[in-house]
């Protein structure tokens, strides 16, 4: 994982190239509702919204996995906490996003701080297993929430409102809200990666001993990244609940955590915009294949394996090689 291009995020040239890709992506997405006006099936708008929501979660995972080198296998827990935050508060009559979202984020921060403090005592495979265990813990906790649907899940009677405005209910408005959130999260994480904190996090992925003898508390740096990552994933869960108007324990299943890792690897670990591309590739492929056959997973699985084997550095690496810039 140390051979990922994440370190070069600090070099001005690839950094600018990556920014260009991300901005172009956001620009393309911004005109998608127009294309729907001109006859593109509106199904694509729904799919793109879902992909952007997962892209936010994948981005947050890339901060710890790609940049920090911490393979968390329990990231779906944060999506679930964010989603239940929206669902439970709406069920309790609090549909205002300005109140519900900060609460959902705070719950994610708390869960991340506690589980992160324990998980980060371990390394490598043990870290993967312990984050998986915490994810499953959140999953079974949600199943036990009988007041909020338990195993069956919870249907949202309405979507959240923003400052009293039911802007989440309109498909196009919601699309733009999600797009703005995605762009905001992308620039936020990008800024963090380039910051002093981000430099220490990147350095610690590669050589934690050197970072420690330079005077940094590596565990603390990783915990902060873990908490930030969990909070951002919580935002994605909050939006997901609003899109599907339904929350269930399945949001936090370990399969979902695995899918998030797939998205990041598929797009290009540690590149940030790769996580966005990976989320889109994953969800569009899933959508198209599941339209062909109900056994789509039997095609999808091998396809991903082949893809990861054949394109070092994911889609980002493939694009870079096609662009003739090589992967140094």
């Amino acid at each position: 994982m140390s051979a990922t291009p994440a370190g070069s995020l600090a070099d001005p040239a690839p950094r600018r190239a990556r920014l260009t890709v991300a901005v172009a992506l956001f620009g393309l997405l911004a005109v998608l509702p127009l294309a729907v006006q001109f006859g593109l099936p509106s199904h694509w708008l729904t799919l793109a919204t879902r992909a952007m929501i997962f892209a936010i979660a994948a981005l947050s995972l890339d901060l710890i996995l790609g940049v920090g080198g911490l393979v968390s296998f329990g990231h779906a827990a944060f999506i679930g906490i964010g989603a239940y935050g929206a669902g439970i508060l709406i069920a309790e009559g609090q549909g205002e996003a300005l109140i519900a979202l900060p609460l959902a984020i705070a719950a994610c921060a708390l869960f991340a701080a506690v589980t992160g403090a324990v998980s980060l005592r371990t390394k490598g495979v043990a870290f993967i297993m312990i984050t998986l265990a915490f994810g499953q813990m959140a999953y079974f906790l949600a199943q036990a929430l009988s007041a909020y649907g338990g195993d069956d899940g919870l249907t949202l009677q309405q979507r959240s409102t923003l400052a009293g405005w039911d802007v989440f209910a309109d498909r196009t408005h919601f699309f733009y809200i999600v797009l703005a959130t995605l762009a905001g999260c992308h620039f936020l994480i990008r800024a963090i990666v380039a910051s002093r904190f981000g430099r220490v996090l990147r350095a610690a992925r590669e050589n934690p001993v050197r970072v420690a003898v330079t005077g940094y508390d590596v565990d603390r740096v990783r915990l902060i990244a873990y908490v930030i990552s969990g909070m951002i994933a919580g935002v994605s869960g909050f939006l997901l609940a609003n899109q599907t108007e339904f929350v269930s324990p399945a949001f936090m299943s370990w399969q979902r955590s695995g899918e998030l890792i797939f998205m990041v690897v598929l797009g290009g670990v540690g590149t940030l915009h790769g996580a966005i591309i990976g989320a889109f590739a994953f969800l569009v492929a899933e959508d198209v294949l599941s339209g062909w056959t109900e056994h789509w997973k039997a095609i999808f699985g091998p396809l991903i394996v082949l893809f990861v084997l054949m394109t070092r550095g994911g889609i980002d690496g493939l694009l870079r090689r096609l662009g003739g810039r090589g992967d140094d």
Partner: protein, 249 residues
Amino acid sequence: MTEPVLALSGLRKRFGALQVTDNVSLALAPGELHALIGPNGAGKTTLVHQISGMLKPDAGAILFRGADVTALSPQRRARAGLARTFQITSTIASLSVLENVALSAQARGPRPLALFGDAARDEALNGPARAALEAVGLAGRAHVSAGRLSHGEKRALEIAMALTLEPAAILLDEPLAGVGREEGERLIGLLRSLKGRYAMLLVEHDMDAVFALADTVTVLVYGAVIATGDPAGVRADKAVREAYLGEEG
């Protein structure tokens, strides 16, 4: 005699049946270059690991700038002003040479973990980093990834990273190991230029370098100190000649 920067007293460490550090006491005075020599397996690196906090001694105490640091983590000792280099070079390969040194500058400065602001363009970090690279002769390589440096250049980079911490003492674990003659001579020149400005504990196999540079030499055999003193005295010491220097011819 002035108060030592670093003082070890009665340090002991055992790996199973093997006593790797056997009642070691030594003192490093301000500005002193203290060489630690001994045959392979004498426990030199293990001792450096205990001083820097990567290993915990079984018994004994480590005093750094008058405070007992025996129980402190490596990062706490580094922040107190104890820098080190590694026998196997330890840099951040994917970061540029300048960023490697800026990482040290950042550790010393205010808000080392600031979440915002572009660190790569931060002159408060790059300025001191460039000065350190200038001092070790790597100014021309500032924008190369550290992983692409030659072995000797990596050694120099590690020294620049240590210097940028503005340490009170530097532990140098075999800075000349595996380095060619030409680069080795450049490194010896660099160490000589640092002499007197920093307290340095130098673990080294290159006897010519040790006797040319050191103010004090301590000889470690099977984890125990068998001699300590000025280079000429140690060279003449009978026990040392038998145990160690004799083999070198």
